[in-house]
Symmetry: D2
Subunit: 345 residues, 4 copies
Amino acid sequence: MSEKVRVGVNGYGVIGKRVADAVRLQPDMELVGVSDVVSDYRIKTAGVLGIPVYSSRDESTAAMTAAGIPVVGGFHGFLDGLDVIVDCTPAGIGAANLPHYREHGVKAVFQGGEKHALTGHSFVAHANFASAVGRDATRVVSCNTTATVRTLTALRDAGLLAKARGVLIRRATDPWESDHSGIMNTIVPEGSIPSHQGPDAQSVIPELDVVTIAAKGSHTQNHSHYWVVELTRPSDRDEVLEAMRAMPRVALIRRSDGIVALNSTIELMKDLGRPRGDMYEVALWEDILKVEGNELYYTYTVDNQAVVIPENIDAIRALAGSVTAGSDSIRLTDDTLGVRQDFLN
Amino acid sequence: MSEKVRVGVNGYGVIGKRVADAVRLQPDMELVGVSDVVSDYRIKTAGVLGIPVYSSRDESTAAMTAAGIPVVGGFHGFLDGLDVIVDCTPAGIGAANLPHYREHGVKAVFQGGEKHALTGHSFVAHANFASAVGRDATRVVSCNTTATVRTLTALRDAGLLAKARGVLIRRATDPWESDHSGIMNTIVPEGSIPSHQGPDAQSVIPELDVVTIAAKGSHTQNHSHYWVVELTRPSDRDEVLEAMRAMPRVALIRRSDGIVALNSTIELMKDLGRPRGDMYEVALWEDILKVEGNELYYTYTVDNQAVVIPENIDAIRALAGSVTAGSDSIRLTDDTLGVRQDFLN
Amino acid sequence: MSEKVRVGVNGYGVIGKRVADAVRLQPDMELVGVSDVVSDYRIKTAGVLGIPVYSSRDESTAAMTAAGIPVVGGFHGFLDGLDVIVDCTPAGIGAANLPHYREHGVKAVFQGGEKHALTGHSFVAHANFASAVGRDATRVVSCNTTATVRTLTALRDAGLLAKARGVLIRRATDPWESDHSGIMNTIVPEGSIPSHQGPDAQSVIPELDVVTIAAKGSHTQNHSHYWVVELTRPSDRDEVLEAMRAMPRVALIRRSDGIVALNSTIELMKDLGRPRGDMYEVALWEDILKVEGNELYYTYTVDNQAVVIPENIDAIRALAGSVTAGSDSIRLTDDTLGVRQDFLN
Amino acid sequence: MSEKVRVGVNGYGVIGKRVADAVRLQPDMELVGVSDVVSDYRIKTAGVLGIPVYSSRDESTAAMTAAGIPVVGGFHGFLDGLDVIVDCTPAGIGAANLPHYREHGVKAVFQGGEKHALTGHSFVAHANFASAVGRDATRVVSCNTTATVRTLTALRDAGLLAKARGVLIRRATDPWESDHSGIMNTIVPEGSIPSHQGPDAQSVIPELDVVTIAAKGSHTQNHSHYWVVELTRPSDRDEVLEAMRAMPRVALIRRSDGIVALNSTIELMKDLGRPRGDMYEVALWEDILKVEGNELYYTYTVDNQAVVIPENIDAIRALAGSVTAGSDSIRLTDDTLGVRQDFLN
């Protein structure tokens, strides 16, 4: 392994392009390049930004070249130059890629669209960085599950969590594809209860008592979660907020600052100069959170496009074994990305 | 009191026009007329339908007449001809009207936008028809609260309800005014937890252990409720569904029939020939409902414009004292409106 | 041919179910039944309404029966009992059905999703009823084209039309399927200019000088058209409005009545008691229309689900030959459907 | 006047914060600070970014300070340190500010919400930079008008423009306020034709023969314009595209690159690393543009939040008189902001 971890990104889509951006900001990583199969503006921008572009599939190379994309090489050559690959291909495609990664001795970070069984390890940095160290592959859980694990882990770490029941109102589609894949003027409840996020959180922390109900709302960005939590004992706002403040990547927001809805945090991120307007943090409303006896209620919003980016960076380090303490990696990631626990103070 | 209850509707808006429609279908009621203060298409249609139109405010009469609305008379003359008035004016206006109703000896049904204290009685037909009989005024609770009370009462009647925690994703605005009063591409959580619907349900049934969390979604029609209920004992789907089937105005729907989202029920109502496409029933997904031990999870959708209409009709009868058994009134109302417990069987 | 025209509807979807409703209102037609291949709520409602349901495809019969749909018979038996079939199957399917219709001697009305060449005749009642009389098949043009032809024909009939350039902002998807087929928070321009509606209008009236530009908007119901028209000579509002008033199925609406947007007309139709809230008319803003010299500008809204329904009814009569004057058929259709030229006066 | 033009921004909203960002990128300007009256996250972010914050109104200072905003000073002190102020206050407020600016000898750039008569000069850089040089005030026209002037000027400069008729589908509201000020699932045509943008374009170039029709669509970002242009003579695509390429701040985009809708350009800007995802250019679809004889049709999209930012920068220079050739200012502005005429090549 070279001094810097040599990282590649397969799939330059919503997650992949953000991972590529983040890797380029890490002092201990080198972005070798990105690979894809498409020929349109999505991958052309990588060229404009000066990122080396590889073809993930021989059949795609000709079309990519014809479209003016400066293709540096093919997939196997790409893999030869890597220590770790972050697979950001569409759900289910990653599974077919794993044998190739293994063949080339490249460690692999997958996304939540793949099944837990693919790697046998599901990752949220604060919860289980240690168990990923040195593995050859892990899976960063989905945006909804990552957010779920963050706040529930905060409560668990404080000895407060008995059981949690959540309603997750998901964004309907990603903005870039909202010209063809949306829903309109409706809400679509998921077809069964519990939705998959609860069991998925248990793939990270098996002992969590968590049930989730999910639905799609008629908006394109950020999820909105609502939690009803039974605490281990009567508590109060101050204690719960203290627990949340102790958790990296959870930021407290306030209606009293005019942050009153999902669009508020989207605007705020742009105002703060975040690249792509990304919010890596779970943004939890401090002044809506309520404790009554041993019951806790809270709501937060999650940038579905960005929340898993810091986890991907940590997962690279864990697999590479270049950093062995989760807290060290988290600190480094959060410093480079500008992650905050309060956006305004 | 004449043989038929002489009913008037004050405020020919979203609720008022539906109440007027429904009153005209009742064999034991006569719609004397409707009153309003506006001069545009909303009230002009009453004229097109042949409904006598009164002016609620002397200052409005000239403009209404100038706009071609055949105004039959003023407010006091209107009240003189009534046994019961259904006040469907905007929230807060009703309170100022009550003294006029009393002065004219007209009993009054208010809507959920008014405070409980205005009449001291909040109404959901199945829950507390009896206590409204002969009163001079009551208040039909809001659409969200009506739906909440219906399904929770079903569980209570079956001896199953210990406590209920609900997340209510409300429609953002009504379709008719969505050209100027909407939200767009966001979700707006209500500013405090619990939201008002829980306490409001307790204004009908004080002993309910219920907490609600509310938010506005980016759609214009139908609310979407998600419940986490602690049962008094372990139960199963069949028992819970039996309890729901025993409750009037709760209809079971199924994803297996292709009814998968809020827009599905809206289309279904039109397909069934419902006037205005109205759904008076709480439409509960039978095949999403889940019981695990003593926990119950379910979701339903509520037509915010229509769900309180049958309650208004029952409330008229209760105040008039013309029917004294709630079940008799409910049956009559539901027959005339075509209320069903299953839309397809 | 029996005394009443025996009509069948193939495809009980957005258009088919409305045609079925309309046929049942005609004194000179009998709805023999509807046929489809699906098994969900969409066709189950036909059963609830008492409409005989046939299976359009032998392979579908078992699933339909298993779903509880009372299937009366198969497709060929269905055709044997018909004089005219209205084919409302998805775009492109109709072409494959035509040989079956011919084999059974059934005349056929197709929809705008099929190509003009399929039948060699494209139909808008006012424009070319006469040329459809006695044919064995025609095609009712699409909602956008029907609306386009109506107002341009009005201008042509008055000797005013030189050339017309239109921008058509279409609804993105139909409400019933907006849980899975929408666009969100964007506008999608059609990929080429002119869009197909201009040439399609010329398939009805070859001499029209018309060019259209189209795009999809982020709303689910009603199209919104904007026209820039060069008149044959300087004119004025009164003359143009007179021309519009002379055209059946064009209704004038006014902002001064509070009708200010697409949602206003949707609400108005419900208020007027229209089945399904349907608007058969092109609703043209009288007080936005502007004439400057020989230039005319106007905008109207079109209920994409309903505007072609009266044309389908007229097309049935034309093919059946039971009425030979277009104006007689239009008058009968419009009377039965309650078509108006002014909704409020 | 100091070596660098000392610039202040009054009103740190959608336009103001972008102007502040842009001023900070100019080598010949210094951002002295921004002033506002609000106390919430919108202005707090200025503090986070290290921008000096002033209070625009004495009555607001206490609340701002109480909210933790480090207020540097009051309005008059702010003005004393400026050469030019960019007034980005809400429409109509600017007019009341002008006397203060004059009193302090500060030149002023206003926005399109103010009337032309306020300054007697309306500004689009390419069209009339020269006539603004040395003036004490000008008004940058609105986003819709700026876009309109850019492409029509391109055609005029090439001697091609006879007359232009445009349909402008505007975004309904800005994203930051879409939690309370939107429209939903509808289109709202403007109440009269012509809409104000045509005459407003003539306030910049009086001889333009332009008529606009406007409406609000159900989306939150970017306008969508559709033009029907009569050329002075028959032309072809190549000539027209050449004219567009000669115009700064018009960028050609292509469906063949996968850029097919408004959301595509929004994603593209984020992909290119644009701050706030801003697009300063009119993005015109090269492969939709059509010429037939002497008629030209085209469509483009405009980032309503960003398109006027380069014009504001140029307007500062024109008033300051620090650059006297418009083309020099435009080149400098475009270099610093990264304005392109093709995003992918």
